[in-house]
Symmetry: C2
Subunit: 197 residues, 2 copies
Amino acid sequence: MASSPRVRLDPATRREQLLSLGVRLLATRPLEQLSIETLAEAAGISRGLLYHYFGSKVQFHEAVVRRAADELIEATSPPPGEDQLARLAYSMAAYLDYVVENHEGYLSLVKGAASGNESLRAIYQESRAVLTDRLFTEDPDGLMLPDTPQTRLVVHAWAAMVEGLVLQWAERPAGVSRDEVLAILNGSLPALIELAR
Amino acid sequence: MASSPRVRLDPATRREQLLSLGVRLLATRPLEQLSIETLAEAAGISRGLLYHYFGSKVQFHEAVVRRAADELIEATSPPPGEDQLARLAYSMAAYLDYVVENHEGYLSLVKGAASGNESLRAIYQESRAVLTDRLFTEDPDGLMLPDTPQTRLVVHAWAAMVEGLVLQWAERPAGVSRDEVLAILNGSLPALIELAR
């Protein structure tokens, strides 16, 4: 009965824990510096056991990035029942805080996707699609976002703007407050949609 | 007196011609497919002579991309004397047409810069800085763009939006007209600046 808690975990639970640890480590370093060695040391287990759980370094990286993207999607998911602008404000605040807290890892995903790494690109595009499709599917009244080629194009471009703004501010926040950033993020979508009507 | 015109060109002029040809070839193919062989064949000269002009494939690529960026800067430079919104409209139309006409090459620059290729990144950032600084320096009345940390951040993000929108539309224009794209591009900067005041 004196076995350590670690030993009693089933493999799936253990893998989940390792993924969460990987995501936390990724917050403060680029993906290419998240080695199996780093995670093994942080988790206090052997490199061999990590390869057992993840197969290869590439698969480990993919799994961590996918988990990080899932966490972003969940964190930015607004509570039901609010109107669309309130949901947008919730998502924007959560997105901003996520990127600030996970700056290095998020930047790795963006760079990796842009550089043509196919699996990172797929994860990036899937999660962006979830984040932007949400804007179209969760407005039963259709007040803000009619689903047209024009608004789809604008939302695509707006997402690039949001990402660029938040990454830039996370890197150089001097002179601009969080509230000012949020005012721009929240106001920009309605303003751009108005231009595309 | 019967020597071919090619022979009479001095080396600097010849190099200029080869660079222009490289830029034209880059319009319709990604940078990694713009080989010394491709250019040598298109120019009707030997690979050896191209190496003589450019030193290496990497230097050749850099020179072509830098030339393409210079052409973009020149093409989008508005005539003097107009008001700021007219200059903005001129630049946006020129930028849109440039990206549509040079889609593959422009995409290569964006991807190369994002992937961390240092020389492409430098060229990309320099040209983006020229394009956006223009917005701050050419408005003697300061009507639209007060130079504050807020507007700098917005212009940075707006540039990402413009690029995302134009690249997306160049790839999938269906359902959205050039005029509709331009209305969004031209209206978005004043609308975003308003949010940042």
